[in-house]
């Protein structure tokens, strides 16, 4: 038996899988979040936006179709725990190259199966996203919480999960088209693939890169990627974004979207239990049409705070009205809170990459003329 224990003593019991020895040398609490996607466990496990979190999958039958290396969203995982109702062996796919269980074992992810994940989801829905500890000894977990003191100090630069997710050094992906700079806060491969598909040459920069380092390569556009954690704890990144976003076309996705809002003087806040899944309806404020989006975020942009920022809200969540997309009234900036690259989830918003490409091309012709 192994356990997930919350500060109030609430315990969820299951059977351990994956790697519990190497995964974390010391006991630590991690934010527990749930995702309601019905497929795509592989993409989720390798999505660096989950860095530092324990992920609960609401779809009960997990692992069915095995593991396909090229569908990883990153070459690593920073997931601190994975909780499922049922773990399958992965026989479903004839072209499978491994299993989820195997991946968790090799990449030191603690897994817990046999958990009443619906009860856990309802618990999180009721109390909001909470930290929990995963241990094989319930008493040790309770003792951990008894001695627990909430840390409130500001995060040191480099402590943020973004820095444990980003690349160490900049690298280039060749391509026939104009050069794009991608600021990697934990970028998903499918964002890169979508950009590649549109012909861009791409340079991926580590999260801490300075604006000058990026501008030196004279990119024609900038992509601010998704990534984990609270954007408020990344003032240095916000500063970098601020000194770049008026200089070249920018596409912000998820964390990138939030950093843009902060850079323009807006604010972000923590959602009660986040948006994670592949079925979130987002409505286009101008056309009135809705699309299904893939989402994975715990923070959102405060709409009122955008007054005077130059950003106009273009997309809203149809359910709770939160900001899902914005465009700048002066600069060439597109930003979306959701994941137009899907992986997992709907692909119907990938046209945002097309719009961004047009933006970059338009900007290039304009520059050429002037």
């Amino acid at each position: 038996m192994a356990y997930l224990v919350f500060n109030d003593g609430t315990t969820f019991e299951g059977t351990a899988f994956g790697d519990w020895l190497k995964s974390s040398p010391s006991v630590a609490e991690h934010e527990v979040v749930f995702n309601t996607s019905m497929s795509g466990y592989q993409e989720m496990v390798t999505d660096l936006s989950y860095a530092g979190q324990i992920l609960v999958l609401t779809q009960p039958q997990i692992g069915n179709y095995g593991w396909h290396h090229e569908e990883n969203e990153a070459d690593k995982t920073r997931l601190q725990g994975l909780i499922v109702r049922e773990l399958s062996e992965g026989e479903g796919s004839l072209h499978s190259e491994g299993s989820l269980e195997d991946y968790c074992l090799r990449h030191s992810v603690r897994g817990l199966m046999g958990v009443d994940t619906r009860a856990l989801t309802r618990y999180l829905r009721q109390f909001g996203t909470l930290p929990g500890v995963m241990l094989e000894n319930r008493d040790a977990a309770l003792a951990y919480w008894a001695n627990f003191q909430a840390k409130h100090e500001i995060m040191e630069k480099g402590e943020h999960w973004v820095y444990r997710s980003t690349v160490k050094e900049a690298y280039e992906i060749p391509g026939p088209g104009p050069l794009l700079a991608v600021l990697d806060f934990g970028v998903k491969r499918n964002i890169i693939r979508n950009l590649q598909k549109r012909g861009f040459r791409i340079m991926v920069f580590p999260a801490g890169s300075a604006a000058e380092d990026i501008l030196r390569h004279q990119p024609s556009g900038l992509v601010l990627s998704n990534g984990p954690g609270d954007p408020d704890d990344l003032p240095e990144c916000v500063a970098t974004v601020r000194s770049l976003y008026d200089k070249l076309p920018v596409l912000g996705i998820c964390l990138g979207h939030q950093l843009l809002a902060l850079a323009a003087g807006g604010e972000t806040y923590k959602l009660p239990y986040g948006h994670r899944g592949g079925n979130h309806p987002v409505i286009d404020v101008r056309s009135g049409k809705a699309t299904m989006t893939s989402q994975n975020h715990g923070y959102a942009v405060q709409e009122a705070s955008l007054n005077g920022s130059g950003f106009a809200v273009t997309l809203r969540n149809l359910n709770d009205g939160t900001v899902e997309g914005m465009e700048h009234q002066i600069y060439s900036i597109l930003a979306v809170q959701f994941h137009p690259e899907g992986a997992p989830g709907p692909e119907e918003n990938s046209e945002i990459f097309d719009r961004f490409k047009k933006l970059v091309e338009k900007n290039l012709t304009r520059k050429g003329r002037s």
Binding site: F12, E13, F34, T36, S37, M38, S39, G40, Q42, E43, T58, Q59, P60, Q61, N64, Y65, H68, E71, R85, E86, S88, E89, E91, G92, S93, L94, H95, D116, T117, R118, A119, T121, R122, R125, G277, G278, N279, H280, P281, I283, G288, K289, A290, M292, L318, N319, G342, A343, P344, G345, P346, E347, E348
Partner: protein, 1057 residues
């Protein structure tokens, strides 16, 4: 917002239940009507099927129970002048009708707009050629194919592409006439029947992708272009078996997200390309090992799959589709489940759903039970579980086939060679066949290679097989018990493996605190708070369905639609629920059929989607602690649970279990009759051949032989002579659970059926129905007339009196149904059913009496005076109604189409009018009979029918028909002064008869049987040929007489001067 201010809208239903078009359209139509009325629209409804909620006066503003023909709907349109018509709620029937009405200019002439999906879109999706052109334009791959209208063209195509090929007729339901062919001979045969089945004389011949994964998407799109997929589903069996006959899992389990998204995007492109405004179903074949797919089929309407998707997700597809038809955008509609979020979203499931078809092979033992592209199932069940194993096992026990796990005892005796063949030739038992193979240690890999089943599903099955073996070895192991309960094992199966009883296992389980909890189906996997009262059980930690205090009653539903237990019982269950709500009770329904109105989450106050077994029902009752359970509306399935439930101490409302038994158990019932001085056909029980011979001698022939305790006349036979006796008795003995059979005197009289409400003292009879066919034809297969046409008042008075005495004597509280036979002016009781019956909806519709409502109030204990129920017989009005059975013989190869004591019909229609002939005409028309008023009639008569057949033949001749007959019949008819042309017998090597049928040279066949079950007989081949070519075939002289009565009144005379 609505496109215009709709004032009056016509909704077309789907008509009788046939294979390929079932109860799902009652659900769709009812939801649509409710959604329209919510918007203040006046709803006009037309459907020929009385056993539906949609044809209730409360569902629409005006209900027409009329045949679903272009002419009759045209008349309704002319009179009602609706401004809109919704064509997509009534299945293929409704769609075809609307299509023809539009093509003939009726809609334009009468100013009716087609609502929702446009005619152009329907045309584009349904017509193979334009569909193919569109797919090409969209870049969506479809299998190499060709549309042909002649068999030769199909052969030419095959010469180029090779075999196997799939043949699909255009514009049919349930894939009638289609199939996979391996050779030119097969192609020739299937192409021909396919061309005949197609409404437009076209078939598609295409490259077979058999063996690929079969995946379906249910899509909704609005007029603005918002487009969402409600659910994706995967067939456990690969492409090759009709999806209606496939075991379906939702959501897809073996597809990577990439595959899911590729298919999702494709289905959205297709639906966008077709400009669908409403629901649409898209079927794909997906290559098992690479991301390659082809589009197999698109249905631009609500379908069986959309009903399943609706129940699987909790998303009310039909309701939302109706709002879209009015012109609403998805973003303007609320999610009825959460009440807060938008309907423009895609449901997330946190459970697994398994659908298993319910096949009729328990009734049609001689049918070809192999599965292919022709659908054969009459209904389906759904199981919801927190893992696939549970979903599967729940679905299995919901089938109500007395199987509680993956073991099927009859397969244990197969040799390895036989088992291997069974593995390779899929029939309805394939799941159990695989389980048996896995039990024998056959490799998953071998099965996967040979059958195309996905290893993942085979492994799931293997896990169940392994746990079955573990259980057998480890009786009373409580850790193992918990483990298998979490896999969905039934107490009953565990009991069998532990050589114990279900109650023992139940007690042991509770002692160890192993009990299920209930989870909610909320469309959003727990992300939002939901208020849907829709639950399923799980062996998990948290129970989330907080129970309510206050008076509450549980109604047991009737499970899957099958022959003998159809949609009528769902009608009754729904009305019971409505009555409970009206009476101030919290109503709780338990059922497992995803096609029905009763399993809509807003029908009852609470819905438990669970198997109808003692264990599953007990768990709910333990939790809810209701004031009682009502078992008399859910057919034999629910009644069958009564004694087990009573034994466990749950209060059964209405007629007590003891009294139910008194009516159902032969010996005790005989005593009841004796006390009342009532007669029944003489009969006796027998358990061996010796007794059988003795009884036969005592009673004499003809005899009715049946197993002692079955429903729907299964394995029942009429034996005319001693020579037939032994074979029939053997069959009956093997069908009887207690190896006992009953033999009754067969009285060739008029059959009469009565439904009544009683509180044990007072008795009310809504109506007496007279059957057109003599006793001997199962009541469910007989044409019934209300009010009776040949019974005099004295006889009616005797029927009323005896019904009253029987109700009192059996202490009926609620409904009862009695079948009588009148033989030589004497009244005999054939059967008493202490429950609601098949005829309750029919009687309710024609009399307007709220039968179920009153019965429910009686069951709740209200007094006769409080409810204000009249006494005696309800007065008949000025309308005459005829109920006609509808069969699905054309879909079931090798099934004997002749009528007999075993029920064979799948559905029914009603014809109602002011005269008997008109009502009969409408009923027969609604049942699909085409009235040809001239041509040829082919007559073959059994010796015992010859005398009577003459007058019928004469009546045909008098109208102007040519008479054709084989030698013996010809000679006899000629001896009676008729002119008859001879036609050669089949067993003389001639193909004249079959050819005549095939080439439509024969318009009617009258064929009474001698050797019912000998399939080699000429008669059987003739009847099958007629059924397969859509030529009306009469096996009962009474039915033929009914046809004649109509023909005589509608045929213009042929009178040369």
């Amino acid at each position: 917002m609505p496109k215009k201010e709709w004032k009056k809208v016509l909704v077309i239903g789907s008509g009788p239940i046939v294979i390929g078009q079932g109860a799902e359209f009652d659900y769709a139509g009812t939801q649509a009507c409710r959604a329209l009325r919510e918007e203040g629209v006046e709803v006009i409804l037309v459907n020929s099927n009385p056993a539906t909620i949609m044809t209730d006066r409360e569902t629409a503003d005006r209900v027409y129970i009329e045949p679903l023909t272009v002419e009759s709907v045209e008349r309704i349109i002319e009179r009602e002048r609706p401004d809109g018509l919704i064509p997509t709620m009534g299945g293929q029937t409704g769609l075809n009708l609307a299509y023809q009405l539009a093509k003939r200019g009726v809609l334009e002439r009468c100013g009716v707009s087609l609502m929702g999906t446009s005619l152009k879109s329907i045309d584009q999706a349904e017509d193979r050629e334009s569909f193919r052109a569109l797919m090409q334009e969209l870049g969506e791959p479809i299998p190499e194919s060709m549309i042909v209208s002649r068999v030769e063209e199909a052969l030419e195509f095959a010469a180029k592409t090779g075999y196997p090929l799939i043949v699909r007729p255009a514009f049919t339901l349930g894939g009638t006439g289609g199939g996979i062919v391996q050779s030119s001979e097969e192609l020739e045969q299937i192409a021909e029947s396919g061309l005949q089945a197609s409404l437009i004389g076209q078939i598609l011949v295409e490259r077979s992708v058999a063996g690929w994964k079969e995946v379906e998407f249910e899509v909704l799109r609005d007029g603005v272009g918002n487009c969402i997929t409600i659910c994706h589903m995967e067939n456990m069996d690969p492409v090759g078996i009709h999806t209606g006959d496939s075991i379906v899992v939702a959501p897809c389990q073996t597809l990577t997200d990439r595959e899911v998204q590729a298919l999702r995007s494709a289905s959205r492109r297709i639906v966008e390309g077709l400009k669908i405004e409403g629901g649409c179903n898209v079927q794909f074949a997906l290559h098992p090992s690479r991301l390659e797919y082809v589009v197999i089929e698109v249905n631009p309407r609500l379908s069986r799959s959309s009903a399943l998707a609706s129940k699987a997700t909790g998303y009310p597809i039909a309701k939302v589709a109706a709002k879209i038809a009015l012109g609403y955008a998805l973003t303007e509609i609320k999610n009825a489940v959460t009440g807060k979020t938008s309907a423009c979203f895609e449901p997330a499931l946190d459970y697994v759903v398994v659908k298993i078809p319910r096949w009729p092979f328990d009734k049609f033992t001689e049918a070809d039970r192999r599965l292919g592209t022709q659908m054969k199932a009459t209904g389906e069940v759904m199981g919801i579980g927190r893992n696939l194993e549970t979903g599967l096992l729940k679905a299995i026990r919901s089938l109500d086939i007395k199987v509680y796990g993956v073991r099927l005892v009859e397969l244990e005796g197969l040799s390895d060679a036989e088992l291997k063949i069974a593995c390779l030739e899929p029939d309805d038992r394939q799941l159990f066949v695989f389980a048996e193979a896995l039990k024998r240690g056959w490799a998953v890999d071998w099965l996967a290679e040979e059958t195309g089943w996905n290893r993942y599903y085979l492994k799931i099955l293997k896990r169940l097989v392994e746990n079955t073996a573990l259980l057998e070895k480890n009786p009373w192991d409580k850790e193992l018990l918990l483990c298998v309960k979490r896999l969905g094992f039934a107490d009953q199966e565990i009991a069998a493996l532990w050589k114990s009883t279900e109650n023992e296992v139940y007690r042991f389980r509770l002692e160890h605190g192993i009990r299920s909890v209930f989870k909610m189906v909320d469309t959003c996997a727990g992300e939002f708070e939901a208020t849907t009262p829709y639950f399923y059980s799980s062996y998990d930690v948290e129970d989330e369905g907080e129970i309510h205090k206050g008076p509450k009653v549980v109604v047991l539903g009737s499970g899957p639609i099958r022959i003998g237990q159809g949609i009528e019982f769902d009608y009754c269950s729904v009305h019971a629920v409505l009555a409970l709500r009206k009476a101030g009770y919290e109503s709780i329904i338990i059922n497992n059929n995803p096609e029905t109105v009763s399993t809509d989450f807003d029908t009852a106050d609470r819905l438990y989607f669970e198997p109808l077994t003692l264990e599953d029902v007990s768990a709910i009752l333990d939790k809810e602690q209701p004031d009682g359970v009502i078992v008399q509306f859910g057919g034999q399935t629910a009644i069958g649970l009564a004694s087990g439930l009573a034994e466990r101490g749950y209060p059964i409302l209405g007629t007590t279990v003891e009294d139910i038994d008194r009516a159902e158990e032969r010996g005790t019932f005989d005593r009841v009759l004796q006390e009342l001085g009532a007669k029944r056909p003489r009969g006796a029980g027998a358990t061996n051949m010796q007794q059988v011979q003795r009884v036969a001698q005592e009673i004499g022939f003809p005899l009715v032989v049946r197993p002692s305790y079955v429903l729907g006349g299964r394995a029942m036979d009429i034996v005319y002579e001693a020579a037939e006796l032994e074979a029939v008795v053997k069959r009956a003995l093997s069908a009887s659970s207690d190896q006992e059979i009953w033999m009754d005197q067969y009285l060739l009289g008029t059959e009469v059926e009565v439904d009544a409400i009683s509180d044990g003292e007072n008795v009310f009879i809504p109506g007496i129905m007279e059957h057109l066919e003599r006793a001997g034809v199962h009541s469910g297969d007989s044409i019934a007339v209300y009010p009776p046409q040949t019974l005099d008042l004295d006889l009616q008075a005797r029927i009323i009196a005896l019904t009253q005495s029987l109700a009192r004597s059996l202490k009926i509280k609620g409904l009862l149904n009695i079948q009588y036979v009148i033989y030589q002016k004497e009244l005999f009781v054939i059967e008493v059913n202490p429950r609601s019956s098949r005829t309750v909806p029919f009687l309710s519709k024609v009399t307007g009496v709220p039968i179920v409502d009153w019965a429910t109030q009686v069951i709740l204990g209200r007094t006769w005076e409080e409810i204000n129920i009249p006494h005696g017989l309800w007065p008949t009005g000025n309308r005459i109604a005829v109920k006609a059975p509808v069969f699905s013989f054309s879909k079931l190869q090798r099934v004997e189409p002749s009528l007999g004591p075993e029920m064979k019909s799948t559905g029914e229609v009603m014809g109602i009018d002011r005269t008997y002939e008109k009502a009969l005409y409408k009923a027969l028309l609604g049942a699909g009979l085409t009235f040809t008023t001239y041509g040829s009639v082919f007559v073959t008569l059994a010796d015992r029918d010859k005398a009577e057949g003459v007058s019928l033949a004469r009546r045909f001749a008098d109208i102007g028909f040519r008479l054709l007959a084989t030698k013996g019949t010809k000679r006899y008819l000629e001896s009676q002064g008729l002119r008859v042309e001879q036609i050669a017998k089949l067993h003389d090597g001639s193909n004249e008869i079959i050819d005549g049928i095939r080439k439509q040279k024969i318009q009617y066949v009258v064929n009474t049987t001698t050797h019912g079950r000998v399939q080699q007989s000429d008669g059987f081949a003739i009847r099958r040929a007629a059924v397969e070519h859509g030529i009306p075939c009469f096996t009962s002289l009474d039915t033929a007489a009914a046809l004649l009565q109509v023909l005589e009144s509608i045929s213009p005379g042929l009178l040369p001067l």
